[in-house]
Amino acid sequence: MTLVSKLLYAVSTLVLLHSGFSSYEFHHLLKLKSLNSAQTVIHELPKDIKYEIYVGLVLFVLAVFTSFEKLQYLPIESNDGMIISEGNYLKEIALNKATNVDNLIGSNPNGEIVFTPSFVDVHAKRKLSREWASNNEKKEK
């Protein structure tokens, strides 16, 4: 949620509360007046209260919409801190597009299964690391 959105939420809540109380007061006075005199001139809510309610509503809707931020991703393996963004507020649903983000940030969507110790081929990994180590030893010598 952005700072603008938080501010708008706070302001719109205050405006709506104030306008609600103003409307309550007006209707309360109207009831008292109608009890005392048979003729009541005002029936409608005064314009300033109406406008305040409208402003509160618009600010609230704006707060909801500004709470959306463009989606950003931090690649898992890169260290330069470059953030990737496709410029969308929502995630694309087509699988061939949805996997783009996983590829860009280097995330494996099947990682839960692929990296589970029981499923990892330990012997292949050991062989790989032994080869790497022996190659490095040769180079050092």
């Binding site: 409307s23 809707v61 929502l90």
Partner: protein, 108 residues
């Protein structure tokens, strides 16, 4: 495009579909409740209240399509018209009526 590629391009990522629907529901839920509250504050009665809801609920959805979907709702929803306008219509209508009666009783 081969037949396989065509079939593959029609597959959707379920996680993203659900995530986008949740975001839309948050917008619709909060807007419907505040619309109801405001209708109560304005002491709107009878069919005018439902017209108020219909007009502003659809306006909010249009703003959602323009602002959040960037005029490409098809990229984010399987069937945009159904998902955005009709999918949760009765859910929002009941929420609106609840907030409307609450606001009306509070003020009146």
């Amino acid at each position: 495009m081969s037949a396989n590629e065509e079939v593959f391009s029609q597959i959707n990522a379920t996680v993203n579909v659900v995530d986008n629907k949740k975001r839309l529901l948050f917008v619709q839920d909060s807007c419907a409740l505040v619309l109801g509250l405001v209708a109560g504050f304005l002491q709107i009665e009878s069919v005018n209240g439902f017209l108020w809801f219909l007009a502003l609920y659809n306006l909010t959805n249009i703003v959602y399509i323009v602002w959040i979907c960037q005029l490409q709702p098809g990229k984010f929803y399987q069937s945009p018209l159904q998902d955005i306008f009709f999918g949760s219509f009765f859910r929002e209508l009941t929420g609106f009526v609840m907030a409307w009666t609450f606001g009306y009783a509070l003020i009146g």
